[in-house]
């Protein structure tokens, strides 16, 4: 009798408490979930449908054929090229700067970090405009180069790929510095001291100990700035020439000027897939780094 009582009674009240916390959770999660489903997921899904729809409503892949051939293909390749260049430069500069900040005295490190962070929150448009002023024929850069009697000055630094890469690199640089700085802070400096105690030289320590430790962080920082550049067009549009048209710019033109929504949708989906591939790589790299960290710890 007592046994049946205790066997039946327990489940109910515990479940009640759990479901109350669950109910609260669902209730409070509702606004964000509904909002993003309606204004984020649904629009992207309808973009996907549009990219597969013929003018008569039937299914087709020809918008993708359009997006991946001819001039559109070269725009896509340009986008990938400029993004790769940007990722490379912001990774190298970011590595040097983050490394310097992690070794500076606290006050200077704080000030340097401030100079990294503040531009991060100033509109990219405004920063791009700053570069346009700086890189013009009579801008500060060419002016200085001319004064230094650099042969060939003034250089053409605007409306070509040099300008675009300078501009987008300066936009992406804060991201990589912040990412790499946190990676470097995570490196156990005693490992370096340990390597030195075993007689390893500076170059050896850097190459054999430090670099492998930060490599996953470097890879994901590079990939992230690559992904962010893919969908970016403010700077390329303002600082580049016709040869630096980015896919995002093309999407914008197709909608605004040519009223070609399906084509724009297909290009959007291509961009989305490229981004997903990049994110997948980031995930692979980070889980690889995490598993290596775990192995070295055990």
């Amino acid at each position: 009798m007592a046994a049946t009582l205790t066997a039946n009674a327990p489940a109910r009240p515990r479940k009640l408490l759990a479901s109350r916390r669950t109910r609260v959770g669902i209730l409070y999660a509702l606004p964000v979930v509904v909002y993003l489903l309606v204004l984020f997921v649904y629009p992207i899904l309808s973009t996907l449908f549009l990219s597969l729809k013929n003018t008569d409503g039937s299914l087709t892949l020809h918008w993708y054929v359009d997006a991946l051939t001819g001039i559109n293909l070269s725009v896509l390749l340009t986008t990938v090229r400029i993004s790769a260049e940007t990722a490379l430069f912001s990774l190298v500069f970011g590595f040097v700067l983050a490394n310097a900040i992690s070794r500076l005295k606290p006050l200077w490190a704080g000030v340097a970090m401030l100079i990294v962070v503040v531009p991060h929150f100033i509109s990219a448009l405004v920063r791009t405009y700053g570069w346009i002023i700086l890189l013009g024929d009579k801008g500060l850069v060419n002016d200085t180069l001319a004064k230094l009697w650099v042969p060939g000055a003034p250089f053409q630094l605007l409306y070509n790929e040099i300008g675009v890469v300078i501009g987008t690199t300066s936009v992406m640089l804060p991201y990589t510095v912040l990412l790499l700085y946190s990676v470097m802070r995570g490196v156990d400096r005693r490992l370096l001291a340990a390597a030195a105690s075993m007689g390893a030289g500076r170059v050896t320590i850097f190459r054999r100990v430090y670099l492998p430790l930060v490599a996953p962080g470097l890879a994901s920082a590079g990939l992230l700035s690559f992904i962010l550049s893919l969908g970016y067009y403010i700077t390329p549009a303002l600082m580049g020439g016709p040869d630096q048209t980015m896919i995002a710019s093309l999407i914008n033109q197709q909608v605004m000027k040519q009223n070609q929504w399906n084509g724009a949708a297909a290009e959007g989906v291509v961009l989305l897939l490229l981004t997903f591939a990049g994110l997948l790589l980031v995930k692979v790299v980070t889980s690889f780094g995490a598993s290596r960290k775990k192995r070295s710890a055990s």
């Binding site: 009674a9 327990p10 489940a11 009240p13």
Partner: protein
């Protein structure tokens, strides 16, 4: 704020007597809690009297904290009932139980001063401002914190923070104050000092306290009664003296008294004594009378401090002193008993005339200090 006035009207009587002077302030019946297949607390029952200091003592995972959390209302039992005064609070939210709680991590509100922290429960109860100021002042004075009222918690040491937490829990005179290892984060010296303070405050104000700790010494210093817990079960709920001298299970004898255990078999019972033949030495040991039939396999439990050294062959066994460590007023000796390779028998004898290493000694004990536990067949 009115809701709290309705729920716990008694606490509005400023500085009044404990609200449940008649009934037991706290009783727990057949409390049970499982996490999946693991039984955290199994059929825990107890009644706690007004003004009593009760401690749940046990290792981590013994269910002591879970039991306390169920009483506080932070976790819900699968079955059983919890009664505070005359109210069944088993299914009530923590805020409706009217209890006090002191956490190990202090949990002072960082955005409030010490005074505001202590005043917080009073403001919830709609106590007038003057009254709040007076009672906060009084309480801080009791805890030796006068003059700290304007400080922020982070400006205080750990010991001071825990005193504030104590003040905050007792300022509104809850019928029972629950404390979850409140001294766990402090160093030994401070812990000893605060134990004395807590006990003094508890006695002065007549507080009913339920305390959780894993520290035997702390439990003995503070408690009127101790519930020794293991694997979700209350092994024994008794006064410290009873637990020490009349442990009901080998676990309690070991946990509190760090007893020596010797296997043996009941030889015979007299009116006052039970005689046991020890398996190892074959010696005879006389215990006070236990209700055990002759031939029963038993574990003999004797605390090191109750054993005495005597001339060889005068005691229940004889052996060679293998270790003798001088620890202030005592000598801790380890004796290798003849005829077997059992663990060393541990003795604690007054320093000065203690045994020396290599000496042959007999070991004797008062029958009153011997506890016998029957060994289950096959166990």
């Amino acid at each position: 704020m009115a809701e709290f006035g309705v729920v716990t009207p008694s606490v509005k009587v400023a500085g009044g007597k404990l609200p449940t002077a008649t009934g037991k302030p706290l009783s727990v019946v057949a409390l049970r809690k499982t996490y999946g297949d693991v039984v955290a607390v199994d059929e825990a029952s107890m009644e706690i009297a007004a003004g009593e200091f009760v401690t749940f003592l046990g290792a981590s995972g013994s269910g002591k904290t879970t039991t306390l959390m169920m009483i506080a209302g932070f976790c819900e039992p699968d079955s059983g009932t919890i009664t505070v005064g005359d109210r069944d609070v088993t299914r009530l939210a923590p805020q409706k139980r009217g209890l006090g709680f002191v956490f190990q991590q202090y949990l002072l509100f960082p955005h409030m001063t010490v005074s505001e922290n202590v005043a917080f429960p009073l403001t919830l109860r709609g106590v007038p401002k003057d009254e709040i100021r007076r009672r906060v002042g009084e309480t801080l004075e009791i805890a030796g914190l006068s003059g700290f009222g304007g400080r922020k918690p982070r400006e205080l040491s750990g010991g001071q923070q825990q005193r504030v937490a104590l003040c905050r829990a007792l300022v509104y005179r809850p019928p029972v104050i629950l404390m979850d290892e409140p001294l766990g984060a402090l160093d030994k010296k401070l812990r000893d000092q605060l134990q004395i303070e807590i006990k003094a405050i508890q006695q002065e104000l007549g507080l009913t306290v339920v305390y959780v700790t894993h520290d035997q010494e702390e439990a003995l210093v503070l408690s009127d009664r101790i519930a020794v817990m293991r694997n979700g079960l209350i092994e024994q709920f008794d006064t410290p003296r009873e637990l020490f001298e009349r442990p009901r299970t080998p676990f309690v004898a070991d946990f509190l008294g760090a007893a020596n255990f010797l296997p043996g078999r009941v030889l015979q019972n007299t009116d006052e004594h039970t005689v046991v033949r020890l398996d190892q030495s074959g010696g005879l040991l006389t215990a006070r009378r236990h209700e055990l039939a002759s031939g029963t396999s038993v574990k003999v439990a004797v605390q090191p401090g109750r054993l005495r050294a005597c001339a060889p062959d005068d005691g229940f066994c004889t052996g060679t002193v293998e270790t003798a460590t001088y620890v202030g007023t005592l000598v801790r000796a380890g004796v290798r008993i003849d005829g077997g390779d059992a663990p060393l028998l541990r003795l604690e004898v007054p320093a000065g005339r203690g045994p020396v290493t290599g000496e042959r000694v007999g070991v004797t004990v008062d029958p009153e200090d011997v506890n016998l536990f029957p060994v289950e067949q096959g166990g």
